[in-house]
C-alpha cells in the first residue's frame, strides 16, 4: 500500500471498503457462503428474466418490473461481498498492500479457469442446440452471450467472496 500516491478517491474508497458497519453480515465463512449463494441466485434470476424479455414476442412488463425489483437486493449483496473482501477488486492497485495484490492475482487466476470451463460449456451447448434445430442457435446466441458476459464480469467477485478469510481477532486492550 503506497499511501503517498493515493488520490482522494482512493482514500475515500479505502475508507468505504473498510467500513465496519456491515461486518456482522460477513463475519463467518458460513455467512459469506450464504451471501455469495444469494448473489449468484439473484444474478441467475435476472439473467433468466432478461433472456425471457429478449425471447418473448410481446413486451412483458411484469418481467421488466421483476428485474428492477431484484436489482436492489443484488446491489446490497454486491456491497456485502465487497465489504467481506475489503474491496479487493474495487480498489486500485496502489490502495492494496502486497498480500492483497497477491490475493487479487490469485482470485483472477481462479476466475479465469472457471470462466474457461463455462465458456466451453456455453459454446458446446450452443453447437448442440444449433445441430438439433436450425433457428434455435440464432434465437439463443444473444441471451447466452449476455449471460456469459455478466458471469465473466461477476465471477471474480464470487471467487473473492468465497476465498475471503475470517477477521483476525485483535486483543481488546490494543484494539482501541
Amino acid at each position: 500500500m503506497t499511501t503517498t500516491r493515493m488520490t482522494g478517491y482512493d482514500r475515500s474508497m479505502l475508507k468505504l471498503m473498510n467500513d465496519p458497519a456491515g461486518r456482522p453480515l460477513y463475519a463467518t465463512a458460513a455467512r459469506r457462503r450464504v451471501v455469495v449463494a444469494v448473489h449468484v441466485a439473484l444474478t441467475v434470476a435476472m439473467e433468466a428474466l432478461v433472456a425471457y424479455i429478449y425471447l418473448a414476442n410481446a413486451e412483458p412488463l411484469w418481467a421488466i418490473i421483476a428485474t428492477a425489483v431484484l436489482l436492489l437486493p443484488w446491489m446490497v449483496a454486491t456491497g456485502v461481498i465487497n465489504g467481506a473482501t475489503r474491496g479487493l477488486l474495487e480498489l486500485r492497485e496502489r490502495a492494496l498492500d502486497e498480500r492483497q495484490s497477491a490475493e487479487r492475482r490469485r482470485v483472477l487466476a481462479v476466475s479465469h479457469r472457471a470462466m474457461t470451463l463455462l465458456l466451453a460449456s456455453a459454446v458446446a451447448g450452443l453447437l448442440i442446440v444449433g445441430g438439433i434445430g436450425g433457428d434455435a442457435l440464432r434465437a439463443y446466441v444473444a441471451p447466452v452471450l449476455i449471460a456469459v458476459l455478466v458471469t465473466h464480469w461477476l465471477m471474480p467477485l464470487w471467487v473473492a467472496g468465497r476465498m475471503a478469510q475470517d477477521e483476525p481477532v485483535e486483543d481488546e486492550a490494543l484494539a482501541g
Binding site: R99, L174, G176
Partner: protein, 82 residues
C-alpha cells in the same frame, strides 16, 4: 510452494502495546495482513519484514525465523532444549 516462516510479532506487539491498525499504518500494510502474518497464514516479503523490524527497532531475526522460536522463558532462564 511456501515455507512456514515463524514469527513473534503478536508477542512483541502486545509487549509494546501497539495495535494492528497502528502497526499496519506505520509499515504501509492493511491491518488484516498483520493479523494473517501473526496467525502464520501469510509470509511477509523481505521488504515488509524489514519495515516491521525497523518499526520495533529490532533485528529482523528477532521477529521472523525459519525455525520455531523457543519459548521466551526458556531463552531468558536458559533451560536447555529437549
Amino acid at each position: 510452494m511456501s515455507e512456514q516462516v515463524h514469527n513473534r510479532l503478536a508477542m512483541v506487539r502486545a509487549e509494546r502495546k501497539v495495535s494492528r491498525q497502528s502497526l499496519a499504518e506505520a509499515v504501509g500494510a492493511h491491518y488484516q495482513t498483520i493479523g494473517y502474518i501473526e496467525r502464520g497464514q501469510y509470509n511477509p516479503s523481505l521488504d515488509l519484514a524489514l519495515k516491521i523490524a525497523k518499526h520495533f527497532e529490532l533485528p529482523v531475526e528477532a521477529l521472523f525465523s525459519l525455525e520455531p522460536f523457543r519459548p521466551l522463558t526458556d531463552e531468558v532462564y536458559g533451560r536447555k532444549q529437549p
